[in-house]
Structure formats: structure tokens, C-alpha cells
């Protein structure tokens, strides 16, 4: 069964269609790449899935639960996590504090606990810190865990973005251009983290511009154009299709 099911999803802003009857399944253990030219509606699709913008029509279910009308934070608590093209880290927090806000249920989510159950809060904080440290270890960030996120390199920030999304222990993870602007060791690290995660059973969807990145990361690709899903298949198949290549590079 698919982890995330999208059926007949439609959205337009004014006259511009960003999602046109999209049907899409994300399966556990799979990494799906979204390919398509600028303005094809890839990031818009992420925004629709996360509830940043409401759809005009269609349904999205996560593990069989409908997410219709659910606000962003509720979707996250159902096990949906994402990273952002522009990272959107919290500049006034350190690396580890950025991560510690990530668990599906955070220690201080209920204010009443803060006042009445200090030991519970301390316990949850300890667990979150342990988990954050474990993830930072895996992503090679442990040495800079107390640095402010604005003081680290772009590649490290990119890793923090992914690491923060991992705190959710999500069922479904959406990565918006995780590899762009990253090279060398960091590139390999992100690749490994994503592959490991898929193996552990998470359904992953990646938006990437660079087809080479998609090939390194994904088992399968989906070609989007003007808000439509045009084709789905192995990345090599998609690249080989002359029609799609033409659409991608324009004429």
C-alpha cells in the first residue's frame, strides 16, 4: 500500500494552473524524483501536500488517513516532514536547538505540562537531545552542534535542514532540492542518509533540478509539466524520452 496517495489534485492561482488532476502514490522504501522545468508545479505540489496552500479539488491521504482541511502542523504530526528550497532554518537557534524542535510531539507542546509536569518535560527533552545527537552523529554535524546555524557553511546548513526533518521519524519525507549547491563529502552524506532512510521504510519524494542528482538519489522519476504528471518510470527511461527532453529544455 502506498504511504501517501494523491488523487485528482487540482490547484490554480488566478489563471495559472499549478496542479492539474494529479494522481501520485509514494510507496514505502521508495525514493521518487520529481523532474520538470521551472514552473512545472513541483514545489507547488509540495506546498499542497503540506497544507501550505489549500487545493481546489482532490484528496491526499497519508497512511490511509485523509489530510483534507488539516493545518500544516497536524499533517506534520501525522508523520509528514519536509525540507525547504530556501532551508528556512531558525537563525536564532543553534544547530541542536533547531533539531530539538523537530520531534512529532515536542516536550512543551502542551503548556500545562510545562507548569505541572517538570519531570515529564525533562524526560522528553532528554530523549529529544539524545535523538538529535544521534542524527547529528550520522550526518557528521556533531562537532558543530552548539554553533548558531548562521555561522556554519551552506553545505552544513543544508544537512541541518535534512537532519531537522529526520527528527520527525516521518512516514513520508519531502525533500526540496536537497543536493543543489552541495558537493563532495556533504553530497555523499546526503545521498547515504536518504538511501538509508528509504531502506528503513520511509516514503521519500525529491525535487531536484539536476538530472544527475536525481539519478544518484532516486529509484523512480515522475515528469511534471504545467501542473500535470506526464510520465512515470525509471530515471533513465524519462531521460531517454525525446518528447520529455524537448519539453524540459524548451525549443
Amino acid at each position: 500500500m502506498a504511504v501517501l496517495e494523491i488523487r485528482n489534485l487540482c490547484k490554480s492561482f488566478g489563471g495559472i494552473v499549478v496542479a492539474d488532476q494529479i494522481d501520485l502514490d509514494l510507496k514505502a522504501h521508495g525514493v521518487l524524483g520529481l523532474i520538470g522545468p521551472n514552473g512545472a508545479g513541483k514545489t507547488s505540489l509540495f506546498n499542497l501536500i503540506c497544507g501550505v496552500v489549500p487545493p481546489d479539488a482532490g484528496s491526499i491521504t497519508l497512511d490511509g488517513l485523509s489530510m483534507e482541511g488539516q493545518p500544516i502542523h497536524e499533517r506534520a504530526r501525522l508523520g509528514l516532514a519536509r525540507t525547504w528550497q530556501t532551508l528556512r532554518l531558525f537563525p536564532s537557534l543553534s544547530v541542536i536547538d533547531n533539531l530539538m524542535l523537530g520531534p512529532r510531539d515536542y516536550s512543551a507542546d502542551r503548556l500545562i505540562d510545562v507548569f505541572l509536569r517538570p519531570t515529564y518535560i525533562a524526560q522528553r527533552e532528554r530523549e529529544a537531545r539524545q535523538r538529535a545527537e544521534y542524527i547529528l552523529e550520522r550526518t557528521g554535524l556533531i562537532a558543530i552542534k552548539d554553533s548558531p546555524v548562521m555561522d556554519i557553511t551552506y553545505g552544513q546548513q543544508k544537512l541541518v535542514g535534512v537532519a531537522r526533518a529526520l527528527m520527525n521519524e516521518a512516514r513520508c519525507l519531502l525533500l526540496d532540492e536537497p543536493m543543489a549547491g552541495v558537493e563532495g563529502q556533504t553530497y555523499a552524506l546526503i545521498q547515504k542518509v536518504v538511501r538509508d532512510l528509504a531502506e528503513s521504510g520511509v516514503a521519500i519524494c525529491v525535487v531536484e533540478h539536476n538530472v544527475a542528482f536525481i539519478k544518484d538519489l532516486c529509484d523512480e522519476g515522475v515528469f511534471m509539466f504545467a501542473g500535470k504528471v506526464l510520465a512515470r518510470g525509471s530515471v533513465d527511461q524519462l531521460i531517454a524520452d525525446p518528447h520529455l527532453t524537448e519539453l524540459y529544455f524548451g525549443t
Binding site: C50, H73, R77, F90, L93, Y106, A108, E125
Partner: protein, 295 residues
């Protein structure tokens, strides 16, 4: 001596008001200047409950805080569901509207003011005891807010100020955090209102208008947003400075506007020359001292 006590009590009350306002506007980043109306609600509720012997004064004061808490939620929930900007307009409308309403209700004294509010502590233990009570509560408020903002809840507020969308995407409910913090801040102001009512024993609606809003805002901005001691310094400076003007024996028609001019002028000067206030808040949220964090 009474004069000195009054000033000390006002300083204490303004420390409570400014600190709780800093929690709302500084730590949580909510734009509202209607803080004095929750002070007013606490004061009136406590005064009326005590005046009609419905409950003992300490309980009445607490009830004032609770009513202020509830009232703040009534303003914040509908407004914040739309956007942060609406909170400001809704709360100003609420503040001025409620003042206008209070002027027309005879049972609470109308525009002329509510008199003969029962006093607390003073008759049995003297005015000094009230001064001590207020100053102790002021200290507790400062410590409470320091504790809250340095704990996991403070981490949430810092992140929410930075980027609300990313914050929501982690599963945190931004609206709920805002409503809660707005409520806590307003509830504290409500309790301070009760403390005011049972010492000065007279309330009138116009006391709680925009002049008072600018005064509290000035204290926070001048002292330094998001610092534990900034509001304290702000309250001290801005409470003592107008007292100095009173020594010039100016007529009240000049004194009021002059005070207002000083408050607002100071905010303007600070906004352009030293936006961080007298005490600058650290850029990075650090929480409690690392050794206390536990392993």
C-alpha cells in the same frame, strides 16, 4: 512617606506589566498594545468582586487575572486565525471599545470612576506590607518569565519568531502558542490590576487608554526587548522620570501631555538610535545554562 510607598508600588506594578508585555510582544512577537485593558479588566473584576463581598480579596485578585486571561483569548482566537496584523487592530478596538463601554455602565462607576474599593492588608499590617507584597510579586514575575522563556517553551517562541511556516512544518501549533502566551501575559496583567485596585481604591476607564499603552511599550522598548531585566530598568526609569517633572508644579493640563510626549518621544529616539534598547538581548537563544541541561 505615603508618596514614596505609592511610587514604589507603581514601580512594582509597572515591572509586572512591562515584563508580561515583553513576554507577549518581545518573546512571542505578537503585535498588540492593548496590554493595559487586561490590567483594567483585572482591576475592575477584582474590585467589584471584593466590593460586593463575593469573595475574599486575594481570591478576587486571582479571579481578575483569570477573567483577563479569558478575555484575551476571546480577542486573540478570532484575530490570530487570520493573521498577526489583525490581532493588533482587534486588540486596539477591544481596548478602546471596552473603555467606551465602561464609561456607560453605572454599576462600575461609569466615566466618573469606581470608588470605595476595599483595601487589602493596609489596615492590619500597614502600607509597608503592601509595598513588600507588590515588590515580591514583581520579582516573581520577572523570574517566572525568565524561567519560561529559557525552557523548552522559550525555544518554541524563538523558532516561531524566526520562521512561522517552518515552525508549523515541524508539527508545532503556532496559533496555539500565540494564544497561550497572549493569555499568560494578559492574565499576569490582570493580577497586577487587582493589586492596583486594592491599594489606590479608585479606578476610572480613561486611566487604561493609549497613554498607558505607550507608557508600557516605552518601558519595554527602552529597557530592551527580550531581556529579563530590561523591563525592570524601563519601569524604573520611566516611573521615576515623570515624578521628577511633577516637582516643577506644572498644571495638570500640561503635565499629562508632557508625560505622553516624553514617553512617545523616547520610544521614537530609541527606535531610530538604539533599537535594541538599553540592554540588548542576545541574538542567539541559549536556554538555561548548559550544565543544568542534563546529559
Amino acid at each position: 512617606m505615603d508618596y514614596l510607598y505609592s511610587i514604589l508600588i507603581l514601580i512594582g506594578l509597572f515591572i509586572i506589566l512591562a515584563s508580561s508585555f515583553d513576554l507577549v510582544i518581545g518573546h512571542c512577537g505578537l503585535i498588540s498594545i492593548a496590554h493595559p485593558i487586561f490590567y483594567a479588566i483585572g482591576a475592575y473584576v477584582s474590585a467589584m468582586l471584593a466590593k460586593h463581598n463575593i469573595m475574599p480579596i486575594p481570591l478576587a485578585m486571582l479571579s481578575g487575572g483569570v477573567v483577563a486571561f479569558v478575555a484575551s483569548a476571546l480577542v486573540a482566537v478570532p484575530a490570530l486565525r487570520v493573521s498577526g496584523d489583525y490581532l493588533l487592530i482587534a486588540s486596539i478596538g477591544f481596548q478602546l471599545g471596552l473603555i467606551e463601554l465602561a464609561k456607560h455602565i453605572h454599576e462600575i462607576g461609569g466615566a466618573g470612576g469606581l470608588t470605595n474599593i476595599p483595601s487589602f492588608l493596609i489596615r492590619d499590617y500597614g502600607r509597608e506590607s503592601y509595598v513588600v507584597l507588590v515588590l515580591v510579586l514583581a520579582g516573581l514575575t520577572v523570574l517566572f518569565i525568565k524561567w519560561l522563556t529559557q525552557g523548552p517553551y522559550g525555544r518554541m517562541m524563538a523558532a516561531m519568531r524566526d520562521d512561522e511556516l517552518a515552525f508549523s512544518m515541524l508539527g508545532r501549533n503556532a496559533i496555539w502558542v500565540k494564544v497561550s502566551v497572549f493569555g499568560i501575559g494578559s492574565g499576569i496583567a490582570g493580577i497586577a490590576g487587582g493589586l492596583y485596585a486594592h491599594y489606590f481604591r479608585f479606578l476610572e476607564p480613561d486611566q487604561f487608554g493609549l497613554l498607558q499603552s505607550s507608557a508600557v511599550l516605552t518601558m519595554v522598548v527602552v529597557g530592551g526587548l527580550r531581556t529579563a531585566w530590561g523591563p525592570v530598568i524601563g519601569a524604573l526609569v520611566l516611573q521615576l522620570m515623570p515624578q521628577m517633572i511633577t516637582f516643577f508644579n506644572l498644571p495638570p493640563s500640561v503635565l499629562g501631555p508632557l508625560q505622553g510626549l516624553i514617553f512617545t518621544g523616547l520610544v521614537l529616539v530609541f527606535m531610530f538610535k538604539r533599537p535594541q534598547g538599553l540592554l540588548a538581548a542576545p541574538v542567539i537563544w541559549t536556554g538555561k545554562a548548559p550544565e543544568k541541561r542534563g546529559a
